[in-house]
């Protein structure tokens, strides 16, 4: 069922028995999730199924009530600050200061992460994200697509081994969306471990090595894409996403 890491491989993310509730309403109930190093996992789920909560827990922004999360071999409870060095995170919002330029934002976050040779690194990620010409523009003047690129640059600045993305396709037009797809594909090529939540079947099924469905507060389904036909998955997807409220 789940592909374990072969010899010499390891789990990049291990979440065991995670519970989290908001206002005493359980969102995640005893959730288990393992992601092998270097794999790309996409997580589907209905609105309100807890996808964002899961990403926030994995990214150490929120803390689980019960259970443990081990990332890159470190417990997030004990080593949160170290864990964060290995994580690149993209949430719904850009996490960038609107009034600062792209460059100022990257410099600020770069310093927070002690990125060595920061200016070179900024030039590198900006070039890669196609933002060279926009470095000196304030973030608020950029289009949603470009802002998203800047957000990716921010997330990649400290060269994290693991990327967590929460519905990154939201609000992107076709063109921006395609560019973002390519970026993700090349990051996957580089061997980054990627966890992405999404509503977009196309994206999820094409990019992911593994697909999972979050329903009723747990990972209701997780499977290697290689062993999966589209038709079967459609059936499973609809069964799970229509049950949840």
């Amino acid at each position: 069922m789940m592909s374990g890491p072969g010899s010499g491989e390891a789990w990049a993310i291990e979440a065991l028995g995670i519970t989290k509730s908001f206002s005493r309403r359980p969102v995640l109930r005893n959730l288990h999730l393992k992601v092998a190093e270097g794999s790309f996992l996409t997580i589907f789920g209905a609105n309100g199924s807890g996808k964002t909560t899961l990403i926030k827990l994995l990214s150490t922004i929120a803390r689980p009530e019960t259970g443990s999360i081990v990332i890159a071999g470190m417990d997030t409870r004990e080593n949160a600050t170290q864990v964060r060095r290995h994580l690149g995170v993209i949430l719904h919002q850009t996490l960038l200061y609107d009034d600062l330029t792209v460059q100022e934002n990257l410099r600020f976050y770069g310093r927070m992460f002690d990125v060595p040779r920061l200016e070179e690194r900024i030039a590198f990620v900006a070039h890669r994200g196609g933002l060279n010409s926009r470095l000196l523009h304030p973030v608020r003047t950029l289009s949603r697509g470009l802002q998203q690129r800047a957000a990716i640059c921010r997330a990649l600045l400290h060269d994290p081994a693991i990327l967590l993305l929460d519905e990154p396709e939201t609000g992107l037009d076709r063109h921006a969306s395609l560019a973002f797809w390519n970026t993700l594909a090349s990051l996957k090529e580089e061997g980054k471990t990627i966890v992405m939540t999404t509503h977009n079947m196309e994206w999820g099924l094409n990019l992911g090595d593994q697909v999972a469905i979050l329903a009723e507060g747990r990972i209701a389904y997780q499977e290697d894409k290689a062993t999966l036909s589209r038709a079967t998955f459609d059936g499973i997807y609809h069964r799970y996403t229509e049950v949840s409220p």
Binding site: K56, S59, T60, I61, A62, R63, T81, Q82, R84, R85, L87, V89, L91, H92, Q93, T94, L95, L96, Y97, D98, D99, Y109, M112, F113, D114, V139, R154
Partner: protein, 196 residues
Amino acid sequence: MLVFALLVIVIFNFAFDVRGEAVALVAPGVLWVTLTFAGVLGFNRAFVLEKDRGCLEGLMLCPIDRGTIYWGKMAASLTFMLVVEAIVLPLFSIFFNLPLFMPSLLLIAFISTVGFAAVGTLFSAIAVHTRAREIMLPLLFFPVVVPVVIAAVEGTGMVLAVAPWASLVPWLQLVVAFDIIFLAVSWLLFEYVLEE
């Protein structure tokens, strides 16, 4: 914040008709009410920038403790308030013809401002997540900083009345104790304020 502070001074001037002998009695109160109000205004803005685009979460993703975010924000608010004071104090001494540039007075101003910033930063992080945050912050902030306001007003009054240093010391100790206690408590509690 600065313009606001000046406006408050002008309004107080009308409200109390501050002239002659009364100046030394009323001025400390006017000064500290002005600075407290201006402070609240500044603290209200302290986390608004972060709230906008999820930058608070951006900071939480950085490899630093939550407590460090508190110190950073506290230092920023403190600096901001000190800058405003650096402008308001000279103007105040011109408007009311008072000698405000005495070391003891600057010391009082500094430690009181630290107290404001210690509590203000914590409550500002709370208020930014509430509806009607402009109301919520003063509601939380004013009752708690009462000791600092009293000490600052009393201390300023004593300095203006050229009271002996010894009578000033208890007030200074009170404010320093307040600063230490609430810097520590806020630093410890800050984590729970940020948590989601």
